[in-house]
């Protein structure tokens, strides 16, 4: 029986290929709303969706908020600075308070890996992980998967290269889980100091030379490099990083004409990707943002219900 048989979305590691495909399929009709003049559907009327962000984010938080509002849910944003967490209220108590005022879905971002899982155990509301430490960022990976499927027509069998700081990137982790489950061939490439051990065991090819990793790539997903990592000595200089691992016009020219260039944003233009490359016709960076809203609409719908093929109406 199809459906998301779970209360929460904590990571793509836990999902089956069927569940991921159901989310992507459900995002299709949601994506249509961008073509409409009237961007409102009554589906989640009476539901309350709370975003609880312990880390700054404009993109992901806004995307969830728009998704909730277009489906007629009431969306409430709580950021650390305005909540009682600064008064010493415990993390779980904060979440229980949010639930007690009627939240049906809590979307959480936290610097600690595992914080969403702890929250999910403490509340009856559905919990969506919007990024936890270097662990997972499942909705970003889902929108990346959706973008690939939308532009390439499939995911299985594609060569997908992920470039950058794989060690600290929750986007990379979630993408690796999702892509391998759906049958893509994943290559990761980046400086050895920013590469976690054990990726080969997940069926991922690990590379340290970008040009080698780009050969035969159908999709290139460029990660944002956290500039403060350089200060910690994980790579010698921004300039060197850009020369060795930056995507520029010359490197793009060696990719196939129908290859896909992605970036979760916001990009450090001139560092991991040049402005010229970001604006290449093969770049779907702007489309990814719209796809993110569609995927999050689909998730809100599925987590407040399920996804079942039956007709109660007639």
């Amino acid at each position: 029986m199809p459906g998301l048989h779970r209360k929460d979305l904590l990571g793509l590691k836990d999902l089956t290929a069927e569940e991921i495909t159901l989310i992507l399929d459900t995002a299709e009709p949601c994506r249509e709303i961008f073509a409409r003049e009237l961007r409102k559907m009554p589906t989640l009327r009476g539901k309350t969706v709370v975003t609880l962000f312990f880390e700054p984010s404009t993109r992901t938080r806004t995307s969830f908020e728009v998704a909730a509002k277009w489906m007629s849910a009431d969306a409430i944003n709580i950021t650390v600075a305005t909540s009682s967490v600064v008064k010493g209220e415990s993390f779980v108590d904060t979440a229980k308070t949010i639930e007690a005022v009627g939240a049906d879905v809590i979307i959480i971002r936290h610097a600690m890996a595992g914080a969403p899982a702890l929250l999910a155990k403490s509340v009856k509301a559905a919990v969506i992980n919007a990024g936890d430490g270097a662990h997972e960022h499942p909705t970003q990976a889902l929108l990346d998967l959706y973008s690939i499927r939308r532009h390439k027509g499939r995911i299985a069998g594609l060569n997908v290269t992920i470039v950058g700081d794989i060690l600290h990137s929750r986007v990379a982790k979630s993408n690796i889980w999702g892509l391998t489950k759906l049958g893509a061939h994943v290559t990761v490439v980046g400086p050895p100091t920013l590469m976690p051990p054990g990726l080969e065991e997940l069926g991922v090819r690990v590379c340290y030379n970008l040009d080698e990793a780009l050969e035969g790539a159908d999709v290139v997903n460029v990660l944002r490099i956290q500039l403060e990592r350089q200060k910690k000595g994980l790579f010698p200089s921004i300039k060197e990083y850009s020369r060795l691992y930056g995507i520029n016009k010359a490197r793009l020219d060696r990719l196939a004409p129908d290859a896909l260039l992605m970036h979760p944003g916001p990009a450090n233009l001139g560092v991991e990707i040049t402005e010229e490359a970001a604006e290449d016709p093969r770049s779907v960076i702007v489309d990814q943002v719209s796809n993110g809203v569609a995927v999050r609409m689909a998730l809100l719908y599925l987590l407040t219900g399920g996804g079942r093929e039956d007709g109660l109406l007639h």
Binding site: D25, P29, R36, G305, G307, R308, L313, H314
Partner: protein
């Protein structure tokens, strides 16, 4: 499709064809032509019915009437009442519906709640000049003030009975039957 014991065969293949043929003429007659018309089938079985009506209209009016597909799942009024939600499919309306006459097409008219949801979904897509409703079978028991403009067959039923429309595009057989609810 889950089937109980068949109590009555209401329409066979020829019966369905004749009923649709009459509907296709009624639609053209009522609207004094089909120039400004769009046929919109409600998923699932309204869609092949809308396509068949368009083909019949093309044969006698010599005009291609556009056919759209409407998925009403996001507009259902029972989403909060059921444990898990139905799979959603795409809505595909080929053109701007503002100013057009829409003929909504569905297989069975029962409580009227599907049609209510379809009306809301259409209104969110534009402002049609008029919306009409065509159904292959009307089995009664309305829960809302909704009626069909074109009815293939009126089928008096009890609430213990279910009307199944089966079409060659979606099912192994082509017929309309009444079965006892299990």
């Amino acid at each position: 499709m889950v089937m109980g014991e068949i109590k009555a065969l209401v329409l066979d293949e020829d019966g369905i064809r004749r009923a649709l043929y009459r509907l296709s003429h009624e639609i053209a007659e009522r609207n004094k032509g089909v120039e400004n018309l769009i046929l919109v089938g409600i998923r699932t079985r309204g869609v092949p019915l809308a396509r068949r009506l368009a083909e019949m209209i093309r044969q006698h009016e010599n005009i291609e009437v556009p056919v759209g597909v409407l998925d009403i799942t996001f507009y259902r009024d029972d989403l909060s009442l059921i444990a898990s939600q139905p799979v959603v499919h795409k809505t595909e309306i080929p053109m701007n519906i503002t100013g057009k006459t829409i003929v909504l097409v569905d297989d069975v008219l029962f409580t009227g709640r599907t049609v209510r949801a379809a009306l809301d979904a259409l209104m969110d897509l534009g402002r049609p000049k008029m919306i009409q409703l065509a159904v292959l079978a009307d089995r009664g028991h309305r829960e809302l003030p909704i009626r069909a403009d074109y009815v293939g067959k009126n089928i008096p039923t009890s609430l213990r009975e279910v009307v199944h429309v089966q079409l060659r595009e979606t099912d192994p057989e082509e017929r309309v039957v009444i079965v006892e609810r299990e």
